[in-house]
Symmetry: C2
Subunit: 281 residues, 2 copies
């Protein structure tokens, strides 16, 4: 079972008046712990900071947050060589009602989980995905952020479970391709890598940003743009990425199939060379 560390008070339960429970008034980060260290830590901090700014929460100090995370890692009975930490930052317990002072003092919760690695053949042969019927609302004031408001992902991901699909891809209400339920999506068209703009909805993953930054440093052009279903179908290669698994090729979405191509393998090689060991083939 999950171990929970709440550092605002020394207990393992949540007050029902928690605004995270009442309204989803908070944010979270799901962090890959590898050899006792949080991977892509700076990326998680950056996104958490952007989320706190948007939601009107004081950003926890980076040093204090890292110390708390280190404590949770050291106290956890899960193998810190390869596990998951989840940091939840909320507006805590305040007076009833939607409105509150901004910025609010954050309440911080840390959970430790065992990690289930993606099977190695998936990195070679790719994974099967499906198109979710659930569409993401567009024009969200918290687009790109990992808030506790995740009903859309719950609905979309729950579509996948009975089908056995590794991941579900989601469109927005207007038909744009946005992301997977737990990953970001990249397509390759004529050797050009493209990934959907997340200005209107979706979650901007830390691994997505890490891929974009690595490619930028390699002077590889990537287009962050509006894409739709037709762009996906017409792509030469497709891959998905998230903080836990790195990048994984996609060989199909429903009846549409793609080969695993050189560009995807190059991205995975680049990730493997930059600390994402799962992508080593």
């Amino acid at each position: 079972m999950t171990e929970w560390y709440e550092f605002s008070e020394a207990r393992r339960t949540i007050d029902p008046d928690e605004r995270g429970f009442q309204y989803g008034d908070g944010l979270f980060e799901t962090i890959a712990i590898r050899h006792g260290e949080p991977r892509l830590w700076e990326y998680h901090l950056q996104r958490l900071g952007a989320g706190c700014k948007r939601l009107g929460l004081k950003m926890p100090g980076a040093g204090s947050l890292k110390a708390r995370l280190d404590l949770a890692i050291s106290e956890s009975r899960h193998e810190s060589v390869f596990c998951i930490a989840k940091i939840i930052v909320t507006a805590g317990v305040l007076q009833r009602g939607y409105g509150r002072a901004m910025p609010a003092e954050p309440s911080i919760y840390i959970g430790m989980f065992p990690a289930l690695p993606v099977n190695q053949p998936a990195y070679v042969k790719g994974v099967a995905t499906m198109l979710c019927e659930t569409r993401l609302a567009t024009g969200s004031p918290v687009a790109g952020l990992k808030t506790l408001n995740r009903i859309e992902q719950v609905l979309a991901r729950s579509e996948c479970l009975p089908t056995g699909a590794f991941e579900g891809l989601t469109l927005d209400a207007e038909g744009r391709l946005i992301c997977g339920t737990m990953s970001n999506v990249f397509i390759v068209s004529n050797k050009v890598i493209k990934t959907p703009s997340l200005e209107r909805c979706g979650v901007a993953g830390t691994m997505r940003q890490f891929v974009l930054d690595l490619l930028d440093r390699q002077a590889v052009d990537v287009e962050v743009c509006d894409l739709d279903w037709a762009d996906l179908v017409a792509a030469d290669e497709v891959f998905i990425a998230n903080s836990q698994m790195g990048a994984v090729p996609v060989h199909r979405c429903g009846n549409h199939k793609w080969a695993i191509g050189d560009v995807t393998r190059d991205v995975m090689k680049l990730l493997a060379e930059n600390g994402i060991a799962e992508c080593r083939l």
Copy 2:
């Protein structure tokens, strides 16, 4: 302070693995308790049922839910002549990850609060509102439902607090008038009552539906349609409604002012005659 009754287990705290906390994977109803009885109970049940269906939760039995609510009312130290009950229904504690079986067994939490009545002069002179900068995402798969994903309302309502405005009106990302942060909005144009369609986003309030049903029984035509800022400004009368306060006239939104007119007063009279005592002038 709030009193919380959790009936899935006999305790007053929440498990941090609660999906209501992790993802906002649940729904709530805020119910006016008047003289020991839940007002508009059938309306709350109807919306909760629609929400459970959409979210893939088994709807709690109406009789059992009422019995639990009655128990909470009887045990509460808040004056049951005039207080508030909040029922929260979630997917409970399940395995980690967005996806889950549907329908899931519901976890039920009931909170009792003291009610703060709206001052009587507000019903006569109207209230001041403001236009929120926060826009609602459009094309939501849970449009109209009262889910635990309420960050948009948190952001919008928090804009109001420093201004002293009684309520904030919100537009969607495309500029349509949708609702207030804690109420629904009605406009009157040339004696015709109109209220925004909530097909794309927003919360369909129980009092809104009660008003629509009462007017329908009186053979008064009401248009449920797309409205925008210009429609609001050009209106002859504006009022807002929610389950706690009934209907209240709006005399201004920012610099735009409206008179309190006969149509609004007629609606309030109709509500007062049908059990919404607050609207008696």
